[in-house]
């Protein structure tokens, strides 16, 4: 054992030779590595503990300098890009050493579309915007399961002739005001369309090593988006195609050591 024990020799008692030799033997046999027996209760404090995280990579952020950045409609997930580069981070994550990785993303967005307005588009589908985390290398990207966030506007937001607000607020047959989810700025009959109604998207994910098995090296992570009609169509008519504006974005990570 690593702990040395000293036989209790008391004053006034007879000195037993075995007691002396047990003490000496304990010293002679102190050959095991230091372990918990050598540390007193609560003996490990701030002086001996290093940090519990690894140094984070550069966070990806965009603020008022970038503003609202338009992202074109797509049926396939594409990278979010609110600065000159894609929203990518690469944490110093070493799962082989027992590291735990948490990815966090929060941003605002709004959709510009005429979805759900049959008089213009000929269909009743409503616009959708979807976001998710992906991992990959510089060439290929893969979905991180359970991280997809879906948003979809109702006809209340996009149908300016049958929206449930409309009947109480204006009369006549022509379109009046678009409600929410800004659709365009030159609608018929003077509709102004200045109602972005920003939404907030949040994705926080604890990454398991088994989730990123398609990449051999330390993976990169990115935010990807999809926006289209909810029936997965994209109109070819100008301004009837959905476009998502993304901004005010924070994308960071923390690696907790074992």
């Amino acid at each position: 054992m690593a702990r040395v024990t000293i036989k209790d020799i008391t004053e006034g008692g007879s000195l037993n030779i075995e007691d002396v030799n047990e003490t000496i033997e304990s010293w002679n046999d102190a050959s095991k590595q230091i372990n918990g027996d050598n540390v007193r209760v609560q003996g490990l404090d701030q002086r001996v503990f290093g940090p519990v995280i690894r140094k984070p990579p550069t966070a990806y952020t965009s603020g008022s300098g970038a503003g609202w950045v338009p992202h074109s409609p797509t049926l396939d997930f594409l990278p979010v890009k609110t600065t000159g580069a894609d929203a990518v981070i690469r944490p110093g994550w070493l799962p082989s050493e027992g590291d735990t990785l948490i990815i966090r993303a929060s941003f605002q967005f709004y959709v510009e579309a005429r979805g759900g307005r049959p008089a213009f588009t000929g269909h009743s589908s409503t616009p959708t915007a979807r976001f998710r985390l992906e991992y990959g290398d510089t060439q290929n990207w893969y979905e991180l399961n359970t991280t997809e966030r879906r948003f979809q506007m109702s006809k209340m937001y996009s149908d300016n002739t049958k929206g449930w607000l409309s009947s109480a607020t204006f009369s006549g047959s022509g379109p009046s005001h678009p409600y929410g989810f800004n659709w365009d700025n030159s609608a018929p009959n003077g509709a102004s369309g200045d109602t972005p109604t920003e939404q907030t998207c949040t994705i926080i994910h604890l990454v398991e090593p088994g989730e990123v098995g398609k990449v051999s090296n330390v993976p990169r992570f990115r935010i990807a988006y999809l926006t289209a009609n909810s029936d997965m169509t994209i109109s070819g008519v100008p301004k009837e195609t959905e476009k998502v504006y993304i901004g005010w974005l924070n994308f960071n990570s923390t690696v907790y050591r074992r």
Binding site: S31, I34, P51, A59, G63
Partner: protein, 281 residues
């Protein structure tokens, strides 16, 4: 192995010098005799990497309740605030008549934190809010005007990437303009006291001629009140000392700054929320 102290033998006279020699041997071993030749230490036999540290070995965490709930751990701190989703009794209420155009911290989304050492701080906040009481015209106001914006701030300095916007409700429709908000932010803070949290900035108070029938007397507020309902903030501060830098760096992502290892190049607002300036820490 340990020492090589000779044992005491039976039927042999043990002298005082003999005992002193044995004690000296042990003393030498403890004080400066342990070297690589012993198995308890040395390059060939480092301290065991087997998980032998038990909970009772570690300095006990301290848990504190009101008014500043937090947990102080051996190498990190976690501060948290949580407020029930009870607008009547616990909602944070802001009036455009009294507090427009100024940044104000929101009760329940703010904490004063004392860091003993330099830290990497992860902040996660979530809340919902809505405007209420302004002009009731759907056509002119339903989500068409900016009621307020929120922003994460430290010591009165806001980070623009955490800006969140809220639109007007047009009175009766406040239920459908309630919005969910969140902020995640990672930054480095020096040892000391920091005021950390979410602030609100109500839009300028503007009066509007009421279009509703029957006509009102005079003008009414476009934006009146903002309520902040259920809300949480967690501030997780990890000591930066000896932080492991076993990191694969990603160059030029997020336009990293030369002067800041964490690449936060955001422009930040001054305390009055007006002219942007560079971050100061």
């Amino acid at each position: 192995m340990g020492t090589s102290t000779p044992k005491v033998t039976v039927s042999t006279t043990t002298s005082a010098s003999d005992l002193h020699d044995k004690i000296d041997t042990l003393e030498d071993f403890v004080n400066y005799g342990i070297d690589t030749s012993y198995e308890i230490q040395g390059p060939g036999n480092p301290i065991s990497t087997d998980p032998w540290v038990e909970t009772n070995h570690i300095w006990a965490p301290d848990f504190y309740g009101a008014p500043a709930p937090r947990t102080e751990l051996v190498s990190s701190q976690v501060h948290y605030r949580r407020t029930l989703n009870d607008i009547i009794n616990e909602g944070a209420h802001f009036s455009a008549a009294h507090s427009a155009k100024s940044w104000q911290y929101i009760p329940g989304l703010t904490a004063s934190v004392k860091l003993m050492r330099d830290c990497i701080v992860d902040v996660t906040a979530s809340w919902f809010a809505f405007e209420y009481g302004g002009i009731t015209s759907v056509e002119t106001h339903f989500e068409k005007k900016e009621a307020c914006k929120f922003r994460f701030a430290v010591n009165g300095v806001g980070y623009t990437s955490t800006t969140r916007y809220l639109r007007t409700s047009c009175g009766l429709n406040s239920q459908i303009t309630r919005k969910q908000f969140s902020v995640v932010k990672q930054l480095e803070l020096a040892a000391g006291v920091h005021n950390i949290g979410i602030r609100i900035y109500l839009a300028e108070r503007v009066f509007h001629a009421p279009p509703d029938s029957p006509p009102y007397d005079g003008l009414v507020d476009q934006i009146k009140f903002v309520f902040v309902g259920g809300r949480n903030i967690v501030i997780d501060a990890h000591e930066k000392k000896n932080m492991d830098d076993a990191v694969v760096r990603e160059a030029k992502v997020g336009e990293p700054s030369e002067e800041d290892a964490f690449g936060d190049t955001e422009l930040v607002d001054g305390p009055d929320g007006s002219k942007p300036s560079k971050k100061t820490y």
